[in-house]
Point group: C2
Chain length 471, copies 2
């Protein structure tokens, strides 16, 4: 994507990083109770300004007020939720091994006490598609701060006015609640982003966006003299497999759910189902042929729209698909293509690359082997879904294949909508995530910014309070 | 290091990987109870052959029989310990979020159930210095298998006969206990090692060795089309800081402990204390000047000895150190150098690079500022130690600096000896580890080979047994 971005000057970047480094020294030792108080103050401030922020976001992103209002509720909840999680000792993996002279490992066991500490300054590269939930006030920012890390936000040019306003509102709340100066700041521009990512003060990075940009940043993070963890969410097709039973049942519900999931927010969701695998000639297949696609609304940016049209054109250029529904105009609002499994496997290799916008491919299969072969070819995914009945003979073999390829598996549900909960896992094998062991949503998102440390043989008075022996 | 290594042929590498991939399909679904049985069979087999294995290891490594016997006890314990850990549900982070219509995140919470699954085939690059504990039968192999991953061992040429024998003994135990074919195998040669590391079937790598080789392999792992987690332990100086109180107390104990830690196993330990920081003119300093170094024994290989002599020569070439003890011959058995803090900071930058062998530098400080400045300059370390009294005014500021630079902090203890326990953390900021969030020793070593997955909205009968609702 080629946005014209203003560039934060090298001097300002340097000041931002110096202040963040100074903040790290204070914030990493700030009690979780005090961190909770500070983060709740930011949540309250975002809440108080919700009308203004949603209005700004709608202007810049072209997303609907309803969608943005819901997203901000979720985002504010996330601050409160993660701040609360940071007060729980089990978030830090607290463990005490007392000395054991008879430990059977060949030598006595010393007194070992395990805890976790914040990694240091985090840079969060904003996404374009969720100005709140994966933007300046998003989960990566909240998780970093909750874990005890200052955060520098690389502002996305698609909604920079919003992000600057969010950072201003947050700064006020941070200052008035006693947070250290420089705890949360923003920078603009690609050069500035790389300067931050390569600065030794920065110890972790987060990113949500395209595979191309994400991989380039991942490579930079890993080629530093001191490589740092890079948590990137790069791309996912989120395939949905409908077994024979699924094809027969609730055909209208499936079609409605699918078309909504494909067109919601103009299809610009990381969990949009880009491929729907259905039985050839089934009732569902027939019904899809006459489906009318809802209007998807405007794109976030003109660049994204151009990229979307290119992607659709290149799929169509293979000459193996036909349009199922939607307009036939040269500048379509939403596109549904149909292709046979055999052709799909022959032309689109490891499933088709994520097409960011209101498009999906319906792939038709005739044999069990074909649907399993399709499942086997997919790359790492955020999600994979099955619509069917538990007794269907295809369900077990499909699950066995999909479990190795996705971070979240869904049963008779659509993957859009990622609940912020304890058990949530929003990640998956590459390219869904650059680190399949981590999630960017939910309680475990916080752990990405911590590292363990163990104290051996320390007297009680020198240990962190949480590692002292119970009295 | 330039060993002449036999090269496993490309055909054999391909067969090894095909068999490992086939084994992954079975082993990843093998119940933890069955995995426990299989791993205990290997532990028993290693135990039964301990005399033969220690004899072989002593021939190839020049390490003492006593040291190798202890190492094998620890290694066998590790198999039993990790196999047992793999049967515990909390190893997999099991979590159930039940549906909640009133979940305050803006939308109802669905039924989400979190579990962890094995990453897939693991390649374990053997270390030279621990033929058992970080070799073919070492913690990385045991942790990978316990987590449900087949393991391919890249055999180290310094003790290849031992590793081949270990793999033969293990293979017999694996077969007779019903493990899938191809679960554990070995390959030799650098080309073969890279071929395995870059094969798409392989999903994680472990390494213990030099920063140079480790970083090269890390870069390869990250430049794959699908990057994979690379768990490398690359280098550590393990600095020890003695405060004024520490300098006065137990001088003889400190000197004896230090000299033993520097020369044990010819100083070829990743946790050898390479830098001892002492107060200039203190009783400890005086006593070190007349210390007699124990004989360190032979090097693992001639190449390592040559590398060691070069490293010592390059430190001495700076012309700022003097020999404190040990022989003055051109081919010294063990070397202790003394240098003033100011000179050390000026010439050895971010502390001196790990010198693999029986050498250490005693750095003398005169002011509080000097000892803190030394602590501030160190790179990431596996360990950092303080010898002192809790009331010493230097202890708190030293701890505040060292906590950000090491994975394990020790109090009046030496860092050699890494206990296999639940709380252990053997890792640290780069270059001590390429992933500061992970440990290669202890219970958490197993988690490196798992990734989370969440099931949304599944009926009980389709869920893994451990995620079904309690009856």
């Amino acid at each position: 994507m080629n946005f014209e971005e203003p560039e934060t000057s090298a001097d300002v970047v340097s000041t931002v990083l110096n202040r963040a480094a100074a903040a790290a020294k204070i914030w990493s030792h700030t009690d979780a109770g005090d961190r909770l108080r500070v983060l709740l103050a930011v949540a309250d401030a975002l809440d108080e300004h919700s009308e203004e922020l949603v209005r700004l976001a709608a202007q810049e992103s072209h997303l609907s007020v309803a969608r943005l209002t819901g997203e901000l509720v979720r985002t504010v909840f996330q601050w409160r939720y993660l701040a609360e999680a940071a007060t729980q000792p089990h978030t830090y993996g607290a463990l005490i091994d007392e000395p054991d002279a008879d430990w059977p490992a060949g030598a006595p066991r010393p007194d070992l006490r395990r805890w976790s500490i914040p990694l240091g300054v985090v840079v969060n590269f904003e996404a374009s598609n969720f100005p709140f939930a994966f933007g300046a006030p998003g989960g990566d920012t909240a998780a970093g701060l909750a874990a005890g890390c200052p955060v520098v936000v690389k502002i996305h040019p698609a909604h920079s006015r919003l992000s600057i306003r969010v950072l201003d509102i947050s700064a006020e709340a941070l200052t008035s609640s006693g947070a250290p100066d420089g705890l949360l700041s923003g920078i603009e521009g690609r050069r500035a982003g790389v300067a931050v990512l390569t600065n030794p003060v920065v110890k972790a990075a987060t990113f949500t966006g395209s595979t191309e940009v994400g991989r380039a940043l991942f490579d930079i993070a890993n080629s530093r003299p001191e490589p740092i963890p890079f948590y990137g969410e790069l791309g996912s097709v989120n395939p949905v497999f409908v077994t024979a039973e699924g094809s027969a049942a609730n055909v209208d519900d499936i079609v409605d759910g699918f078309l909504t999931a494909v067109t919601a927010s103009a299809g610009q969701l990381c969990t949009k189902p880009g491929v729907l695998v259905v039985q050839d000639g089934s009732a569902l297949h027939q019904r899809l042929r006459t489906a009318v696609l809802p209007s998807p609304g405007d794109f976030l940016t003109d660049q994204l729209k151009a990229g979307f049209l290119n992607a659709v054109a290149s799929v169509e250029a293979a000459g193996v698909s036909s349009r199922l529904a939607g307009s036939d105009e040269p500048n379509p609002e939403a596109v549904l293509l149909e292709v046979r499994a055999e052709q799909f496997l022959a032309h689109f290799g490891d499933m088709f690359v994520e097409c960011f916008g209101p498009a999906a491919i319906v792939v038709t299969y005739t044999t069990d082997d074909e649907i399993i072969a399709l499942a086997q070819r997919i790359q790492g995914q955020l999600t994979a879904s099955i619509f069917g009945a538990p007794t269907d003979h295809l369900v077990e073999p499909l699950l066995a294949v999909l479990i190795d390829r996705a971070g979240r598996l869904l049963w008779n549900q659509w993957p859009t909508g990622v609940s912020v909960t304890d058990a949530q896992h929003h990640g998956g094998p590459y390219p869904a995530s650059t680190d399949p062991r981590t999630t960017s949503v939910g309680r475990h998102a916080l752990g990405r910014f911590l590292r363990p440390i163990v104290f051996q043989g320390f007297p009680e008075e020198l240990l962190p309070r949480q590692l002292r022996s119970p009295q």
